[in-house]
């Protein structure tokens, strides 16, 4: 009989890595029927005053779960996670949220006049079709193309497209008649 080392490739199960990583592994809850091993701590949050950690389970590529701190017995993994967060350097602050809507669209629809748009883009003059100050600030309803219209603050429009704003105002100029003035002018004529 020859002694041979197991030649099976390592599975996702704990078989091969257990010996290497014993120090870091979670001690399985012996009371439970199934044994789940925590591979890594991914995140931390506080819900209703209780600390929870997002856990990656060994052998499961999806199914990460949030577990309350008190249920866990993997202090090394938690410490490793916290250390990583700290070494995100004191004083440094990560980006918060989106770049104020300047980001590239996450999805795009291909329009019918796709080709036309390419040429017309930038040359198409915008038009103001209305104004309102119900938001507290003077806003223009700016028609872009076909049926799309945007609410744009007047402050912005005045700088971006002053001619468009002027046209809007000019189109709506009205004079009120002042009879005395007219009489005077008539006399001059």
């Amino acid at each position: 009989m020859s002694m041979s080392l197991p030649t099976e490739p390592p599975t996702d199960g704990a078989a091969v890595t257990e010996t290497e990583k014993k120090a870091d592994e979670v001690v399985e809850e012996e009371e439970e029927e199934e044994e789940y091993v925590v591979e890594k701590v991914l995140n931390r949050r506080v819900v209703k005053g209780k600390v929870e950690y997002l856990l990656k389970w060994k052998g499961f590529s999806e199914d990460n779960t949030w577990e309350p701190e008190e249920n866990l017995d993997c202090p090394d993994l938690i410490a490793e996670y916290l250390q990583k967060q700290k070494s995100a350097h004191e004083g440094k602050r990560k980006a918060v949220g989106d770049a104020d809507g300047d980001e590239s669209k996450s999805k795009k629809k291909k329009d019918d006049n796709e080709k036309l748009r390419g040429f017309a883009r930038g040359l198409e003059p915008e038009r103001i079709i209305g104004a309102t100050d119900s938001t507290g600030e003077l806003m223009f309803l700016m028609k872009k193309h076909s049926d799309e219209a945007d609410l744009v603050p007047a402050k912005e429009a005045n700088v971006k497209c002053p001619q468009v704003v002027i046209s809007f105002y000019e189109e709506r100029l009205t004079w009120h008649s002042y009879p005395s003035e007219d009489e005077k002018k008539e006399e001059k004529n």
Binding site: H89, E90, G91, K92, A95, E103, S104, K110, I129
Partner: protein, 505 residues
């Protein structure tokens, strides 16, 4: 012909506007104007109601009865029958409906059960027109909400589109790239499914100097969606595959390609240090700094965001940005007319100021203090907030001489004026800065001088008032400051001499 005055007046009054009543003239003008406006409005409304059948047919397809039907029943019938021509006709009609600017009937098409047919058309390599129309229709449905994208995916679109990436017809490949971009853009889940299906090598294979610009634009955008989203971030193996190609794309000159490539880098650098590390190891930082100067806002914005992310990393990462010249570009951006640009620039500055003395010194040397103070004084609230962080970080990491420089630049005066904002967090950050300045003053034995200065600037009054602030931490911090530095009774008149060190103003 003799022109008597009477005759002249008569003629003149008939001639255009002369001699007419001024008020009547105005009335006439106003009425005309209103008529014109009304006429324009009518045209505007009429254009909305153009029937789709008048849209130009850009395919070489001639329908039997001469007009294309856009009725959903006809489309369903056509798509479901066995005749290729009818299928193409129906598919094209659906595509056109789905390409409308206003309210494309996505749900109707889904509910009509057409998606499985469309997906099956994708595999008909000998019917490129049909493939293309189906791909376009599915692209547009996938561009909707998560529900819409899910419908497309559930009908088996992913493997079908990935197969199309090897089509010999470039416009079909491009359409598949677009569709996959929409699916990836839905979120981390589908993104990772696509990555698992090996979409990345198939996409990268199409990057070549001969590729048309429009094609590369779509490709870059789709790649950026594969870099996008966190929780979780894309797998490192995928990131490593994409980075070299992103580098290549970043050296092109088309603004749309550059924009999306920079967004991709901004997503990849938005994470922990190991994420930032793989990005900077490509050597991309100098190019990013260069692109921060690009005249196109759509390029400059993500380049700035990327650099901002990089300097939120380790001191080493930050040094790489400094070595690449970021400090000479930043002043312009701090003075940029667009408030969001100012804000992002101030945020990047605040992170550089959170570094070691050596880097803070570089901030001073490269003239970053004056524009910083300008933002504190004139910026919008969000920019001011970031600038305040910059000041506090500076006072925390800077040595005594550096803090003196900071005060001399007008920063203290500027932050004192910001003590009246409503944001309690910012007030706390300002008070911390003031505290740090006093700590520096202590080392020089100059606390009294600083007290006097703060009082002159109206700061003492502000801080005293803050002892009544609603926020507990604020009034505590304010109180501590007063107790520690301002409670020695009346301040003595200190003669301010011109000295080499110290807080001389």
């Amino acid at each position: 012909m003799p022109t008597t005055s009477i005759g002249g007046d008569e003629r003149i009054s008939k001639f255009k506007n002369k001699g007419k009543d001024l008020a009547k003239l105005r009335e006439k003008r106003i009425t005309e104007c209103v008529e014109l406006r009304k006429a324009q409005k009518e045209n505007f409304f009429k254009r909305r109601n153009i029937s789709l059948s008048s849209l130009p047919e850009d395919e070489a397809l001639s329908p039997e009865n001469g007009t294309v039907s856009f009725r959903i029943e006809d489309i369903i019938r056509d798509v479901n029958c066995d005749d290729r021509q009818a299928q193409t006709r129906g598919c094209q009609a659906a595509r056109k409906l789905l390409s409308k600017d206003h309210d494309p009937p996505m749900k109707k098409i889904v509910d009509a059960g057409l998606l499985s047919r469309f997906v099956s058309f994708l595999s008909l390599d000998d019917e490129p027109t049909l493939q293309f129309e189906a791909a376009w229709a599915l692209t547009n449905i996938a561009s909707g909400t998560s529900w819409h994208t899910q419908q497309v995916v559930n009908h088996g679109a992913i493997p079908a589109f990935i197969n199309l990436l090897t089509s010999p017809m470039l416009h079909i490949v491009e359409q598949a790239v677009w569709a996959l971009g929409n699916i990836a853009g839905d979120g981390a889940a589908y993104r990772d499914v696509l990555i698992e299906c090996n979409v990345i090598p198939a996409l990268l294979a199409h990057i070549s100097p001969d590729a048309p610009v429009g094609f590369l634009r779509n490709l870059t955008w789709t790649l950026s969606n594969l870099c996008r989203n966190k929780n979780p971030c894309p797998p490192m193996s995928a990131v490593n595959q994409m980075l070299p190609s992103l580098m290549q794309l970043l050296h092109l000159s088309d603004k749309d390609i550059l924009s999306d490539a920079c967004w991709a880098i901004s997503y990849l650098s938005d994470g922990s240090d190991d994420r930032i590390d793989v990005v900077v190891k490509t050597g991309i930082v100098p190019r990013l700094v260069e692109l921060m100067n690009n005249k196109e806002l759509c390029v400059m914005t993500p380049a700035l965001r990327s650099i901002g992310n990089i300097v939120s990393g380790s001191d080493l990462h930050t040094q790489m940005a400094i070595d690449a010249g970021v400090l000479s570009v930043l002043p312009n951006l701090l003075r940029h007319p667009k408030p969001t640009v100012q804000k992002e620039a101030a945020w990047a500055l605040s992170n550089i100021a959170a570094g070691p003395c050596k880097q803070i010194q570089q901030l001073i040397t490269c003239g970053l203090l004056p524009p910083l103070v300008e933002v504190l004084k004139n910026g919008d609230l969000k920019s001011q907030r970031e600038a305040v962080w910059a000041v506090t970080n500076f006072t925390s990491g800077g040595n005594v001489e550096q803090v003196v420089q900071l005060v001399k630049s007008g920063a203290l005066e500027a932050i004192i004026n910001l003590l009246k904002v409503k944001d309690a967090k910012i007030i706390l950050v300002i008070l911390e800065a003031v505290n740090n300045m006093f700590l520096a003053a202590e080392k020089l034995g100059e606390t009294e001088r600083l007290c006097l200065f703060v009082e002159q600037l109206g700061g003492l009054e502000q801080i005293e008032m803050l002892q009544n602030h609603a926020n507990e931490m604020v009034y505590q911090a304010a109180h501590n400051l007063i107790e520690k530095y301002f409670s020695d009774g009346d301040l003595e008149e200190v003669q301010v001499d011109a000295m080499q060190n110290g807080f001389v103003f």
